[in-house]
């Protein structure tokens, strides 16, 4: 306690929270403007569909389980007017409003509503950040001019949200994300959303906000602050920094600094995780794959439109065929590159797969599911359709078509591996379109240098026992002894031999074979 007491004697020299440091942490270089979109009635809004489905529009309350049993978490205005408050037990609420209809809180729907809002917000700004459970942040500096100013932007956004989800929203725009959130949560009187353009004004504008309504600090902390007579943000900002940090922790001080814009607040960007998922009931049931392929065409058209609108592609698709009793038949397609709006291409691949499909039962319904949406590569547009020199661009499609019929493993590329054992000096790789090396021999040059000479063009996967008596040995031996470290130890003497028909063979004698073992000569390749 001694240092604490010593510092207390010089209160006049301690800077207050709102006074800028000599070296402000957040430089004014990042000229961001954050719009906070707060949903004050998230619980009710997320259950809107369920409420609307109720007959006769009864008074509604959303309940949740608390330590004390079921308590009211949200209710509509009529119920509120009757005296029902947040946190009241369900029995108390029913005593006040006997006709009360209670709905269980649905966290999943709340999340869905929030993500739906974030997706809509993407029309207004590319930088979106979620603030669960009940707010979305949009960086709107770049969008202000496009939408004709902050007020017009907010009006458009409000209109859009009201029209699509019916949710009530409160907005605020400030240079600091946290300040925007606090303003939006506080819900200042007046229809117009709050707009603070300059970071320097933030502290003064934040000052009148009540801590209890906007800052979601721990209840104990808020209680302590209140016993000290600190009720507004401004009360806290007037306190000395070091004293505040010591009493309430550095985290809380950091929050205040973020709200006033003294400290930057990096936000995680929201990425829309959209997927295509559509079903189609088939009437009558189809048992012919050809007709099935035709029935899928409209779904593929929808998918391609969906992708074009978003300028995205998919790399994986799944078609589910539902039968009367048999388990669902799944057909999975994978593409070498993300494909966008090319229904014929996907339909062609799908037909290839469906042709070889044995249906256990007629199909009652089909469902088309997409994998995650991916960025399209920018080579899909052909300016001169007749100029087909870049025909390697067709390669991915060829590989897909071959794989659709022959299976994934049936198509591969080749690569050299720097390795002494002949069978390990190559490997099958995924064929990739990449910029070829100027030498024209690719990786082969460095790996195959010196080793490619005197090697056969055909290699046998497993060396075959071979009778060397009629062969004429031309070159050799070349001793290859390697691989003791990975269990595939070899010790071989390789020879180039010629048979009676003029063919050149690559044979080896296994030096590890026991003398009495008989077979010790093997054929490993042909100099084709």
């Amino acid at each position: 306690m001694a240092p604490l007491a010593r510092r207390r004697v010089t209160p006049a020299f301690r800077p207050a929270l709102s006074v800028p440091d000599r070296a402000p942490l957040a430089q004014s270089g990042s000229r961001e403007l954050w719009l906070a979109l707060h949903l004050p009635a998230l619980l009710l809004d997320s259950l809107r569909e369920a409420v609307q489905a109720l007959p006769g529009q009864p008074p509604v309350a959303v309940i949740d389980l608390d330590r004390n049993g079921k308590v009211v978490r949200a209710c509509d205005a009529a119920v509120q007017a009757a005296g029902v408050r947040d946190g009241m037990s369900i029995n108390g609420a029913l005593a006040l409003v006997p006709a009360l209809h209670t709905l269980a809180r649905d966290l999943r729907r709340e999340r869905q509503l929030l993500e739906g809002l974030a997706r809509r917000s993407l029309y207004f700004s590319p930088r979106i950040s979620l603030e669960p459970p009940d707010a979305v942040l949009l960086e709107v500096r770049g969008s202000l001019r496009l939408f004709g100013g902050a007020r017009a932007l907010c009006a458009r956004l409000q209109q859009e949200i009201a029209a699509t989800t019916g949710a009530t929203t409160r907005m605020a725009i400030t240079p600091a994300p946290l300040a925007s959130l606090w303003f939006a949560r506080a819900g200042l009187p007046g229809a117009r959303p709050l707009f603070v353009r300059n970071r320097a004004d933030l502290a003064a504008r934040l000052a009148p906000l009540p801590l209890a309504g906007c800052a979601r600090w721990p209840v104990r902390t808020l209680e302590t602050l209140e016993t000290m007579g600190l009720r507004t943000v401004g009360d806290c900002l007037r306190l000395p920094r070091d004293g505040f940090a010591r009493r309430f922790g550095h985290d809380l001080l950091a929050l205040l600094d973020r709200a006033t814009g003294r400290r930057p607040e990096p936000r995680a960007a929201f990425a829309a995780s959209e997927k295509f998922d559509t079903r189609r009931e088939l009437e009558p049931e189809l048992d012919h794959t050809d007709r099935l392929a035709r029935a899928l065409d409209p779904l593929l058209d929808d998918l391609c439109r969906f992708l074009r609108e978003r300028d995205r592609g998919v790399q994986a698709l799944e078609v589910q065929l539902r039968h009367r009793t048999a388990p669902v038949t799944r057909v999975r397609l994978r593409f070498v590159q993300p494909v966008g709006g090319q229904p014929q291409h996907i339909a062609g691949l799908l037909r290839e797969r469906l042709d070889r499909l044995a249906l256990p039962q007629p199909v009652r319904s089909v469902r088309l599911l997409s994998g995650p949406l991916l960025e399209l590569q920018a080579d899909a547009i052909e300016l001169f359709a007749h100029d087909r020199r870049e025909s390697a661009a067709h390669l991915p499609q060829l590989i897909e078509r071959l794989r659709a019929r022959l299976g994934n493993d049936a198509v591969h590329g080749l690569a050299c591996v720097p390795e002494h054992r002949p069978e390990a000096a190559w490997r099958a790789v995924e064929p990739t379109l990449r910029a070829p090396s100027p030498a024209g021999a690719g990786e082969g040059t460095e790996a195959g240098e010196g080793r490619g000479e005197g090697r056969p063009l055909w290699l046998l996967d497993t060396p075959e026992p071979c009778d060397v008596r009629p062969l004429i040995f031309e070159e050799g031996p070349e001793c290859i002894e390697s691989g003791w470290w990975d269990g595939h130890d070899v010790a071989r003497d390789y020879y180039v031999a010629r048979n009676g028909q003029g063919a050149r063979l690559w044979v080896f004698r296994n030096r590890r074979a026991a003398a009495g073992d008989g077979v010790c000569w093997f054929l490993h390749g042909w100099f084709a």
């Binding site: 300016l383 661009a393 690569a415 190559w426 070829p436 090396s437 024209g440 004429i472 003029g502």
Partner: protein, 236 residues
């Protein structure tokens, strides 16, 4: 009165269609073959090399007599062609049609070579030693669907060369392959057993390979559109 062939040639030289010049009628560029890398063989082939359009059949029962070596100089040349050195996924900026005139060949399909159902593993280090870009090989194990896979590869216009090992008994499958090869700018090569030489084929060039311990590889041209049957000894 019957005019001799010589007289006819003299009188109507320009109008007469001669089988030997068939390819050059359709334009000098199209007729030029892809040099095989073997001067003796080039001399016997119309166009001085592998026909750039149409199916090539190579008939052989023996392995290891040089059936691949026969093709490799041409394949290595395809890998080095201007079209092949462009990076395929990012087409170079084109400045109208003036740019295309700078590229002498119109068949650089990225230098990719498709191997459809090869009997053994094409051995990457050996291919690299022959100057072939191993990174642009596409190995396809198609078993019974070899003709189909070749057909797809030819129609896709995605490869500089398509090599296949199969013996399609069905004349229609062969015909289909030949049509695809004719329409495609890829070099199309089908390896078949020697026995297949007894039945007719729509291929533009048919070669039978015979190996012997004394003379090395002997290439017998069975059929050559616009050329003549011949036998070439390529040695060891």
């Amino acid at each position: 009165m019957s005019a001799s062939v010589e007289e006819l040639l003299q009188r109507h030289g320009a109008q007469l269609w001669r089988a030997r010049e068939r390819e050059s009628d359709s334009g000098a560029a199209a007729a030029a073959g892809l040099p095989t890398g073997y001067a003796a063989l080039d001399r016997c082939l119309p166009g001085g090399g592998w026909p750039r359009q149409g199916l090539i059949e190579i008939l052989s029962d023996q392995r290891g007599i040089g059936e691949l070596r026969l093709l490799l100089p041409a394949l290595a040349a395809l890998c080095r062609e201007p079209g092949a050195t462009e990076s395929p996924p990012y087409p170079p900026p084109r400045s109208g049609h003036a740019g295309s005139a700078m590229l002498p060949h119109d068949r650089g399909s990225g230098g990719w070579i498709a191997w459809v159902s090869p009997p053994y593993r094409p051995y990457a280090p050996a291919l690299a030693a022959w100057g072939i870009d191993v990174a642009r090989m596409l190995v396809v194990q198609a078993a019974a669907a070899t003709a189909w896979a070749m057909d797809q590869a030819l129609r896709a216009e995605a490869c500089s060369a398509v090599l296949g090992w199969a013996d399609p008994r069905d004349p229609q499958a062969l015909r289909r392959l030949q049509l695809a090869a004719e329409a495609s700018r890829s070099l199309a090569v089908l390896y078949r057993p020697l026995q297949a030489g007894l039945t007719p084929s729509p291929a533009v060039l048919r070669l039978a390979l015979l190996g012997s311990s004394s003379d090395g590889l002997q290439v017998r041209i069975i059929k050559s559109r616009g050329g003549r049957p011949a036998t070439v000894n390529l040695g060891h």
